[in-house]
């Protein structure tokens, strides 16, 4: 069996320390998983617009050559706003071969969907929930194993933390994720 550890005059099982460390990994892991996925989602979104400046006030993009891409149409079903530059300008542009294969002018598709509304967002969200659910099971197991033993209060707190994190994650549904895009835009700016 695992040896005991003594700290601050209290003797703990090494097993308890390992359990708490594992719970910490699960809590952080569940959170980091979703965060990384969101960051990369927004980075991937931005990749397609790289070099194009978006003006929120005027609702248009400006390309590196100074051409304006104005709002062309909405695709409600896929939650897309589609912007387009004049074909004549693009076809005469020296950067065309690096920019667009079309003869109809460069398009930019701005997604209005939140991360959690996408399939890949749902995938990560479920994995994150599973990770936090595992932390609840392990911390509940810890409470049973260390009940009436030194360190009991630690596993009780851990169970509480696990439950709260799981509840927060369940509560964090797409309807309540307003501002996600703005937050992520900040995180994924080029200065980082």
């Amino acid at each position: 069996m695992l040896p005991k550890l003594t700290a601050w005059g209290i003797t703990f099982d090494l097993g308890l320390v390992l359990l708490l460390a594992y719970l910490l990994i699960l809590w952080v892991g569940g959170w980091v998983l979703e965060l990384l996925a969101r960051v990369h989602y927004h980075k991937a979104q931005k990749h397609a617009h790289q070099g194009f400046a978006f003006d929120l006030q005027l609702d248009r993009y400006e390309c590196p050559q100074g051409e304006l891409l104005t709002l062309q149409t909405f695709d409600d079903r896929n939650k897309l706003a589609i912007y387009k530059a004049p074909a004549s300008s693009c076809n005469a542009c020296v950067l065309k071969t690096f920019c667009t294969p079309h003869e109809e002018g460069r398009h930019v598709y701005r997604s209005l969907a939140e991360f959690q509304e996408t399939d890949v967002g749902q995938f990560h969200r479920w994995l994150s929930l599973i990770i936090l659910a595992v932390s609840v099971v392990f911390s509940a197991g810890g409470v049973l194993a260390w009940w009436n033993k030194p360190g009991e209060w630690l596993v009780v707190i851990a169970l509480g933390v696990s439950l709260v994190l799981l509840w927060l994650d369940i509560r964090d549904n797409p309807a309540k994720s307003e501002g996600d895009a703005e937050l992520m835009a900040e995180i994924t700016t080029d200065k980082w």
Binding site: A37, Y41, T100, L127, I130
Partner: protein, 770 residues
């Protein structure tokens, strides 16, 4: 003469790939030469101090063959390589020998010092080929032989996952102990003029003075410098040029998918419906066997009261579990290759359908023949001379008998012929560095590098046999299958209009370079402790750290790759037909990140590997990486291809959705609920109580953690069952659709999508690749 299409990428990509490939394999060839010169010797005879012969070289090599063909490498390990229920025979023998000798010499400090000195002394004379053992070593041999006979070879009743009376021949039993005793001698006797053993002091064992060597620490430190410097350099360069390589596109494209029921199918494509039924069936059986295998951790003598070991002992269920993992993934790859070839070439030559059907038949013969051979071999039902040929060779992952291995290689060559015939019209007009040719090269690499496994024989000196085995286990599985995976994913994304051919081609060249730099020579990190020369450890340590660099980049890439799925969408009211194929591909990216990247990194460094090898953390990495990457890709291929093969009424999106979530959630539960935490506890036990102890049935101390595997397994298995039902329906009622022809009867090319813009549709004449 037809002019070829120009190379779609800069020639520098091709030149760089060839150069790094040559450099990587030069190192590996050098290490192959050294291993023949410097591996641990097998003495002609081992004698006691009076000159009495204890056993001979023939017995050691015979013993190795019996050890392998009775499936003991799929029960426990030698040098840390093999299965995890049984002990590590090398470490266990060494520990028992040291304990016995201590007691025999008086059980005090003087006795302990004498034991250490006697065991470390190398009394092998290379001129006569004779190794002299002390009285303590000779007596220990008899005692341990008796212990192994009672507990492993010749049990009186089922237990420890093994059936009773497994090995009835006393000569075979003694030969196996001779082999194990020899491995433990190589683990402790110091190399001539060196202070470390033939295994670089592995296993860690206090009683005999085996600790990490100075060389190991030095090379670990240097490899860490390489790791940090290399990672910084590569990430820096990648960050600067990530627009050139990687899973993204300059301009997002929106496409309208041709409804699957409108896409014409060729005869060979229709045959693949049966391939995918085989994939689903093998996958389900593989899962059930995995459940039986892991159940032995909680009930070593049976299965809920049934005497399972009598018929399906642990070593057999585990062998089949591993073999079927390779078979179901390979079958999916073969089928996908056949399915994609006409999409790339735009047409299909006559006879492809018949050839594909022959290949399917050959595959069935190999799969069921080899599994049957393994059963007969492990149950001792084949004559000794035929066991390794028709039965089992027994090297972990190369378990199948040699005859079946030859047949498998022939089958894979036939597959390459089918691919070549299918691609030929396209190859004739493409530059030899373009995507269709890369597809052919990567297909060719699969039989080519699997064939290298033929260098491993059941009577090869262990270090040499193991070295060639890892050309298959590491180089084939971790490098060339990984490359083929990238190839297939890239092709599918190109066919679906998600990335352009130019980006996909760059990414494949980039992968070749990454794997050639670290992955190829990184093969040697499996060989630190198998009795090979010290230079293997130096190169292995240095390059296995370098191997982490592509793994790190892989994790970065995996996240970017994941996002492609999120951007895929249908452009009009027609539903996107590949929602779950893309989601399975997204999960490939996720598991590549976690399983190959994070869990691979966790155990790759030499100082970690010294303690970690042969623990559940390896199994943790294996499950997350193999099932997560190759398994999920196999399912993605199944879902992608069967979408076109199914009659509209036979396609059941709900079943596929259930399979997707159940397999991913089940795998996650397996990892987090069982393999990872138990692996960490086992690693802690290695450090605290020694390697031998951590490889006993120590996990019986954590029964609830062992049972925690069950929910994940059940969910995962539930996910595999619906695919069998769906593929059975599709195979029995494959959609009939004649190849498209124009008004003159000439074949028309097929496209899976058309690209659209807000102002109208852009027709994409011809296929998507190119």
């Amino acid at each position: 003469m037809t002019s070829r299409r120009a190379l779609t990428v800069s020639p520098l990509w091709v030149q760089g790939s060839i150069l790094t490939f040559i450099i990587g394999f030069s190192f590996l060839t050098f290490s192959a030469l050294r291993i023949y010169q410097d591996s641990a010797p097998v003495p002609e005879q081992i004698v006691d101090e009076s000159g009495k012969v204890l056993f001979t070289k023939k017995q050691i090599l015979d013993g190795q063959e019996q050890f392998l063909t009775y499936g003991l490498m799929q029960f426990g390990t030698v040098y840390g390589h093999g299965a995890y229920l049984g002990p590590d025979f090398t470490a266990d023998y060494l520990h028992r020998m040291a304990l016995f000798m201590n007691k025999h010499y008086g059980d005090n400090e003087v006795a302990r010092e004498r034991t250490r000195r006697e065991l470390q002394a190398n009394r092998y004379d290379p001129t006569t080929g004779t190794l002299v053992w002390t009285a303590g070593q000779a007596l220990a041999f008899e005692v341990i032989h008796q212990h192994l006979s009672d507990s492993v070879y010749n049990r009186t009743e089922s237990g420890a996952g093994l059936k009773p009376n497994m090995i009835t021949s006393p000569e075979d039993r003694r030969a196996i102990t001779a082999f194990i005793a020899w491995t433990s001698w190589t683990a402790v006797a110091r190399r001539p003029d060196q202070t470390y053993s033939y295994t670089n002091n592995w296993p860690p064992e206090e009683l005999v003075g085996n600790t990490l060597t100075a060389d190991a620490i030095m090379w670990s430190a240097l490899s860490l410098v390489t790791l940090l410097g290399g990672t910084g350099l590569v990430l820096g360069v990648y960050g600067r040029h990530s627009q050139v390589v990687g899973w993204h596109e300059t301009e997002e494209r929106r496409v309208r998918f041709v409804p699957p029921s409108s896409v014409a199918l060729t005869p060979a494509q229709r045959v693949t419906a049966w391939f995918f039924l085989v994939v689903a069936a093998l996958f389900l059986i593989q899962n059930l066997l995995g459940g039986a295998t892991v159940h032995y951790m909680v009930e070593a003598g049976g299965f809920f009261g049934i005497d399972l070991p009598k018929y399906l002992p642990y070593n057999l269920t585990r062998t089949w579990h591993l073999q079927l993992a390779i078979f179901f993934v390979s079958t999916a790859y073969l089928a996908a290759g056949i399915f994609l070839a006409p999409l790339i070439a735009g047409r299909e030559p006559r006879g492809q359908g018949i050839l594909s059907a022959i290949l399917l038949g050959a595959l069935a013969v190999v799969v069921f023949g080899s599994l049957g051979g393994e059963y007969l071999s492990f149950h001792g039902m084949l004559p000794r001379g035929l066991r390794s040929f028709f039965g089992a060779q027994g090297w972990e992952y190369l378990d199948l008998g040699r005859f079946w291995m030859y047949l498998l290689i022939v089958g894979m060559v036939l597959w390459v012929v089918i691919i070549y015939r299918g691609l030929r019209p396209r190859l004739a007009i493409e530059s030899r560095g373009n995507l269709p040719w890369l597809f052919l090269y990567s297909s060719l690499s699969i039989p080519a590098f699997y064939s290298i496994g033929l260098m491993t024989h059941t009577q090869s000196t262990f270090a040499i046999g193991d070295f060639w085995r890892f050309w298959v286990v590491h180089l084939w599985v971790e490098d060339f299958l990984e490359l083929f995976t990238t190839m297939l994913v890239a092709l599918i994304f190109v066919l679906m209009g998600i990335v352009s051919e130019r980006y996909a081609t760059r990414l494949i060249y980039f992968d070749v370079m990454l794997y050639s730099i670290g992955g190829v020579v990184g093969t040697l990190h499996h060989c630190y402790f198998s009795g090979g020369p010290a230079v293997e450890m130096a190169m292995g340590a240095f390059f296995s750290a370098a191997e982490v660099i592509p793994l790190t980049l892989l994790t970065v890439e995996a996240w970017s790759f994941l996002q492609l799925g999120s951007r895929q969408q249908s452009a009009d009211d027609a539903p996107f037909p590949h929602r779950y194929a893309v989601l399975f591909l997204a999960s490939v990216g996720f598991w590549n990140f976690l399983g190959a990247g994070v869990f691979g990194f966790l155990i790759n460094l030499p100082v970690v590997s010294y303690y970690e090898i042969g623990t559940l953390l390896t199994s943790n990495h294996g499950h997350a990486a193999f099932m997560g990457v190759y398994g999920m890709l196999a399912l993605a291929l199944l879902v992608f291809c069967t979408r076109y093969l199914a009659q509209p009424g036979d396609w059941n999106e709900s079943l596929v959705r259930f399979s997707f979530w159940a397999t991913n959630i089940g795998l996650m539960l397996m990892i987090l609920g069982h393999l990872f935490p138990l692996g960490v506890l086992q690693l802690g036990d290695v450090v605290t109580n020694g390697y031998w102890h951590a490889r006993t049935e120590w996990f019986l101390n954590y029964p609830w953690l062992s049972w925690a595997r069950m929910p994940g397994d059940v969910v995962f298995m539930a996910g595999s069952a619906p695919l069998v039902w769906m593929t059975l329906k599709i195979a029995l009622r494959t959609r009939k659709s004649p190849p498209p022809v124009d008004h003159s009867g000439a074949a028309l090319e097929v496209s899976l999508y058309t690209e659209i813009t807000p102002t109208g549709e852009v027709a994409r004449g011809g296929t998507s690749v190119g």
